[in-house]
Every structure is written in structure tokens, then in C-alpha cells.
Amino acid sequence: MPSDGGEVVSGLAFVRAEEVPFPPSVHDFYPPSLVEGGGYWLTRFTLLVWVAVALLIVFFLLAYRDPKIVPDRKQWLAESVYGFVRDGVGREMIGPEGLRFAPYLATLFSFILLMNLFAIVPFIQVSPNSHIAFPAMLAVISWIMFMAVGVRRHGLVKYLKISLVPPAPWFVLPILIPIEFISTFLVRPFTLAVRLFANMFAGHMILLVFTLGGFALLNAEALFLKPISLLSWAMAIALTFLEAMVILLQAYVFVVLTASYVQGALAEEH
């Protein structure tokens, strides 16, 4: 959402069409500090992360403060999110042992989902996950967790043997072991972070292109281009629905992949 240099009309920020910077760029992801003269890190992204954490803590505490056999609406929502992750991800991907990881997976799922949802909430419309730093931290946590789980289960040497040495003839091992090392210990956290980041980044970029592109068309000199801006805005609305699907899917995929890495670390066979 363009936020600089607009006229303020009845509480909503309107930007004059001539002032819309058209090709959206990476700079749109670096908003100024929220507080005048405050720290450069105190942007709306930081604020949104705090809000997400606070919302989740308050919601789950409130929903489970007084659990009933016939759940009310809050309890129903909390239980269905937790139940979905526990049964659909934990138990299905990891097996009976997955129940131990259900709290972490459910927290991860709801946190990522809420952070992603900010990308389509009106007047916020940008997700903290469109900065690589936030998905990177989440990926590092998952990365450390699946390695720690493997080492605790098998011991360091056996875990390395299980994860690095596939059952293959000895003469291909010099090639396979580096490949396995790279794909298991380096590529996994990297793709985990980049997938979430790039999805949110590209989603925000696409919405910017169509919203700002509408203004650019409206502002065009050729008369026949002006009505096409309506088409552009209609596309922006349609893509917001697509974005909603991507948001759910990416939260789910992050959790499913974390669970499958944990399952791989727990498995006896390669």
C-alpha cells in the first residue's frame, strides 16, 4: 500500500495519481522508523512481530483458561488448529512419536500463519515474513531441532552415519556423502527460509504491481489506457484471494517439511 506523500481524506490515505511511484522495487520493503528519531529497527515489521506474538499468547491463554466439554467458539478454534497440526502433520508425518512435537509444530504453524495473514489484512498488507530475517530464524530453529533430535536418538556418530552414508556401493560414496551432506545440512534450512520469504515477497510485489499499475495506467497519456486501470485493480483483488491460498499453503508446507525432517532424523534406516 502506498503510504508516502498522500492527501489524507476522512481517515484514509489517498495518494494523488501523479505521485504514485510505478515500478515497485525492493525499497518498498524498507519502511522508515515508526517513531521519529527512533531506532532504525523499529519499523512496522518489528511491531507486527510483537503484535503476532502477543495475539497468539493472549488467544491461546484465553481459549484454554476455562475448557469445557462442549467448547465455545474460541476453544473450538484453538482446538481445531491444534488438532489439525497434531493429527494431520505430527501423527501423519512422524508417526505415534509425533505427538511429542505437536506443541512446537502447532505454535510454528499458527505463528507463521498469523504473520503471513498480515499480507492481506487491509491497511497492513505486508507480512514480516517478506524479510528474509524472520523466516531465516524460524528455519534455524527447525534445523537445530531436527539435528538435536537425531543426535539424541542415535548418538552423534550413528546419526551422521545414518544421514550421510546411503546404502550404496563403496565407490560411489565419495560422491554421495558430500551430496548428502549438502542436501541434508545446508540446503534444507536454506530452502525452508527462502521458500517462505520468496512467497511472501513475491506475493507483496505482485499486489503492488497491480495496485500501483492501476494508478500508472490511470495516469497514462493515452486515453484508451485509462479504463484498463479498472482491470488492473480487479486483478489485484483476484490475486489477493490467490495470496490467501498461498498464505495457508506456505504455513502448512513449512510445518510439514519440519515434521518430515524430524521424522528423517528419528528413522532407523536411511
Binding site: 530452502t191 520468496a198 518430515s260
Partner: protein
């Protein structure tokens, strides 16, 4: 004398080329899932996690393309 001139970034063209591979890959994955579900509907729940994992892994290539298009 300039006969023809193109302005803008070549990374848009590059990304278009880079998206072909993941596009085909994602298509194959969903085609395989639909086919397996049509042949054996009761396996739909069983194969769904693999569908999403495979989709996510292939899609990562396209997303790397987007990210690197802006980086380089």
C-alpha cells in the same frame, strides 16, 4: 544509430525462462496426484503430504529465481 532499443531489466526475461522448469515440474506433480487419486480414491489422504512436499520442493526453484532476479 540505434535501430532498436530495449529498456529495463533483463532479469524479467531470465525469470520467465527460469519459471518454465518448475512450471512443468509442478504440473507433473499434480497430474500424478490426480491420476493416483482417480485410480485409487482411498489413497488420497495417504499421498497428500507427499504432494505438498514435492510441490514445495519443486516450487522452491521458481522462488529462488524470483529472489535472485532482485539480488543480481
Amino acid at each position: 544509430m540505434d535501430l532498436a532499443q530495449v529498456e529495463g531489466s533483463l532479469s524479467a526475461v531470465g525469470y520467465g525462462l527460469a519459471a518454465i522448469g518448475p512450471g512443468i515440474g509442478v504440473g507433473l506433480i499434480f497430474a500424478a496426484y490426480i491420476q493416483s487419486t482417480a485410480r485409487q480414491p482411498e489413497s488420497a489422504r495417504l499421498t497428500q503430504p507427499f504432494l505438498w512436499i514435492g510441490f514445495a520442493v519443486v516450487e522452491a526453484l521458481a522462488l529462488l529465481g524470483i529472489a535472485f532476479g532482485f539480488v543480481f
